[in-house]
């Protein structure tokens, strides 16, 4: 599943980076907090303010009412005027009362307005009305029967809200209750919302006659609109002040936060960015974090110090790593070189002895690690004796390889000096035990073949059993007598034994890497499977036999790792008499190129000359080689090149030469092409197909098969 692409900070625009800046977020949070605080304060303030203002109104109304009441009581007898007004009021029928406000109604009271005490009362009231903020100050009486307030004197009578003498307003008992029952203690007032006057604060003080009876009330009205106006302006000022203070506070806060919090974090971020850039550019020593100058004394400073520590640690780590890597590379190079030197120490050019027709030998080593401890060796001690060595050093890797080198040289030197196998092993063991502090050891099988007679003298120092196939039999283990491993015991003595190899016999030598190759379920390849593989290819050349075993092991182990080297050697003993009876086989493997045609031709011609082959037959064979090897060189691996093997077999009675061309290129049967029509005229003749046609015409037999990924073309020429 594809991973979702996450935008790197480097890919972001400046706006994207700052969209969630700490300053911005703090600004919003602070603003919101302060706004909530301000609004709460506003509500509380408003309550307190309006309560205070209302108290002031009430106090003012009450004071006015009481002051005027005191003056009125001291200077006149209000009960007379009040009595006159109330008498007139009571004298009216309910219908007449309903005409209140009309001129006729008011005319009934007009004569009272000329009374001296009314004029005096009005003068007092008007004085208060003018000199204070009161909306109205008047004298009225409550009539219990009609539940109405009857106005006696109102200085605001000329104004719209004023009332004339005798005018009445209906009120509920509840509204006037507190005025009627007032005991002279505290302030008595009423706050009501009237459609006529708006929010009104009313205070009233009773006037009494000599008997203490309430005759009328002095009432003072103060409209609350001033309170509302005051509240509005208070609110406006408060909000303006609040906004200014909030902004100011927030600004200071953010500025401070930017300096102590945001800037250091940005510095660290920038240092990190520069650090990454320098690392990409390959700079190893940097001081971006160490150069940070943060002294906030808080977690940010801690962070910067930790980053500086990390930077130093990483720099140290890197220089260590560079050193270790360089060291590893050096060791790797040396190991590769060691592997090459080791590989070149083993004879690995085949055919190893092209001039020797008495035997055919092939060997291979596939190391499991870079360098291994297995080795094989073969060399001619003199013209008559061929030494064969197969050995396996304990352990693996470089130590095993060093030990292998020493062992190989010692074995070869002693063998070349002409000693018998057991004496060679005795001498080698003595040499190795003399200087073997590491207690390493090596198993060695050494055989010396008398080429003329096929007599093989061998000694075994703890090595695997060799496998021998006599011409009339199959591959069988030779259960020879094992001596102790070389390097294990200085006193060890080795014995030797003899085997007779008849012409056509084959000997197979190997190390435990073959028998002990394991598959994924830890099962061993085993000697039995090895013998089966050998028998399946027992008629092949040594090379084919080794390839068969190799393929069998590979198929067996599958994906499992190979832990041990795979080393094998096979010799096919042909014998001196082979060319006089039976079959002689020689082969060479070269890169399939046009340039190598000559080498192949010479290789085959050398065989033919030994047979005293007629010149004409040799020419025809040479032409055939030119055609067939030329074809392989041109087409088999096109456009690459690859190996091609040419095998020459000489058959006796009747004398015949069989030449086999083998390549691993693309499958192609040259015999399947259409034969050219040789009767056509020059203009009609096609180019191509002539070569194979020529070969078919001049050879006694031509055959082709495709087997095991190989093109095998065989030609036979009878002598």
């Amino acid at each position: 599943m594809p991973r979702k692409h996450i935008k790197s900070i480097r890919e972001m625009t400046k706006w994207e980076r700052s969209r969630n800046s700490m300053a911005g977020r703090s600004f919003r949070v602070t603003m919101m907090g302060q706004a909530i605080l301000g609004i709460v304060a506003l509500i509380i303030g408003m309550g307190l303010y309006s309560y205070a203002l209302m108290g002031q109104c009430i106090g003012e109304a009450f004071t006015l009412a009481r002051s005027s009441a005191a003056i009125i009581s001291d200077t006149m007898e209000p009960e007379k005027l009040a009595g006159a007004v109330m008498t007139l009021y009571h004298d009216m029928s309910p219908e007449e009362l309903e005409t209140v406000g009309t001129d006729a109604y008011r005319a009934r009271f007009s004569y009272l307005e000329n009374r001296e005490d009314y004029q005096f009362l009005m003068a007092i009231l008007q004085e208060f009305y003018r000199s204070s903020d009161v909306d109205d100050i008047y004298v009225a009486m409550y009539d219990r029967d009609t539940s109405a307030v009857v106005y006696i004197a109102d200085p605001a009578e000329e104004e719209e809200t004023g009332c004339s003498m005798g005018d009445w307003d209906r009120v509920s008992v509840k509204e006037v209750e507190k005025f009627l029952t007032w005991d002279g203690e505290g302030r008595v007032y009423n706050v009501s919302n009237t459609p006529q006057y708006g929010w009104l604060c009313t205070s009233g003080v009773p006037l009494t006659d000599a008997a203490g009876e309430t005759v009328c009330f002095v009432m003072a009205d103060i409209a609350m609109r001033d309170v509302v106006h005051g509240l509005a302006s208070f609110l406006l000022q408060y909000v303006i002040a609040l906004v200014i203070v909030i902004f100011l506070l927030t600004y200071i806060l953010i500025a401070r936060m930017k300096k102590t919090l945001v800037q250091p974090i940005n510095d660290i971020a920038e240092a990190a960015q520069n650090y990454a850039r320098d690392k990409k550019a390959g700079l190893s020593a940097t001081d971006h974090f160490s150069a940070l100058n943060i002294h906030s004394g808080d977690e940010i400073e801690n962070l910067s110090l930790i980053m500086a520590d990390m930077e130093r640690d990483l720099t140290d780590f890197e220089s260590n790593l560079t050193r270790v890597t360089a060291e590893k590379e050096r060791i790797g190079t040396e190991l590769a070189l060691a592997t090459r030197i080791q590989a070149h120490m083993l004879p690995n050019i085949f055919p190893a002895f092209p001039e020797r027709t008495e035997f055919d030998i092939y060997a291979s080593m596939t190391p499991a690690k870079e360098v291994g401890g297995d080795f094989y060796d073969f060399f001619l001690i003199d013209d008559d004796r061929l030494a064969l060595v197969m050995a396996d050093v304990s352990g693996k890797g470089v130590p095993a390889a060093l030990f292998m080198m020493a062992s190989k040289i010692l074995v070869k030197n002693y063998a070349m000096s002409g000693l018998s196998p057991s004496k060679v092993l005795n001498a080698v063991n003595a040499q190795i035990c003399a200087n073997n502090r590491e207690e390493m050891f090596v198993t060695v099988w050494l055989g010396i073949l008398d080429i003329a007679s096929g007599k093989l003298t061998a000694a075994n120092a703890g090595h695997e059993y060799p496998v021998l196939k006599q011409p009339d039999g199959s591959f069988e283990l030779v259960k020879d007598r094992h001596g102790f491993v070389i390097g294990g015991l200085a006193e060890a003595r080795y014995s030797e034994y003899e085997l007779q190899m008849a012409p056509g016999a084959k000997l197979f030598l190997y190390t435990d890497g073959v028998a002990e190759a394991t598959d994924e379920s830890e099962e061993l390849f085993g000697t039995q499977r090895m013998l089966e593989a050998l028998r399946s290819a027992e008629d092949g050349t040594p090379k084919e036999i080794l390839q068969t075993v190799d393929a069998a092991v590979e198929a067996f182990v599958g994906e499992a790792l190979q832990f041990d080297d795979l080393t094998m050697l096979c010799i096919h003993y042909i014998g001196k008499n082979a060319t006089e009876g039976g079959t002689s086989v020689k082969e060479m493997t070269v890169e399939a190129t046009v340039e190598n045609i000559e080498a192949v031709t010479e290789f085959v011609n050398a065989e033919l000359e030994a047979l005293n082959c007629p010149l004409k037959a040799q020419m025809q064979i040479d032409v055939a080689i030119d055609e067939l090897f030329g074809n392989i060189a041109h087409y088999a691996y096109h456009p690459e090149t690859g190996p091609a093997t040419v095998r020459v077999e000489v058959e006796q009675e009747p004398l015949a030469v069989i030449i086999t061309f083998i390549d691993n290129g693309m499958p192609y049967d040259p015999l399947a092409t259409e034969e050219p029509d040789v009767t056509l005229s020059a203009e009609e003749r096609k180019i191509g197909g002539l070569g194979v046609f020529l070969v078919k015409k001049t050879m006694d037999d031509v055959s082709y098969e495709y087997k095991n990924g190989q093109n095998i073309l065989r030609i036979r020429k009878n002598m």
Partner: protein
């Protein structure tokens, strides 16, 4: 392979010595490509030629086709081995062998 070249007016004689095979055929091909212009009579002397493979036959066929347009081609001193090759491949019917 050695090629000995003799020019006489519009007649060109090439004496071939050694082997005419896959490796050496390009030499003869190059020689013919560069010398055949204006030649009316081409003589190939095979007296000292040891053998010839299909690569040589291919050049002989191409040259024969070309010379049939601009003149004539003769092949001299064909030995037994090479004659056999010519006969087997039908070239003896195509070439003018003297």
């Amino acid at each position: 392979m050695t090629i000995t070249k003799t020019v006489d007016d519009k007649s060109l004689t090439l004496a071939l010595e050694g082997r005419l095979d896959t490796a050496t055929a390009p030499e003869l091909d190059a020689e013919l490509q560069s010398s055949l212009d204006g030649v009316e009579t081409l003589i190939l002397d095979l007296e000292k030629l040891q053998y010839m493979s299909s690569a040589g036959l291919r050049i002989l066929l191409l040259t024969q086709k070309r010379m049939m347009k601009q003149g004539q081609m003769k092949v001299l001193h064909v030995g037994e081995t090479i004659m056999e090759i010519f006969e087997v491949t039908g070239f003896s019917e195509i070439l003018t062998i003297e």
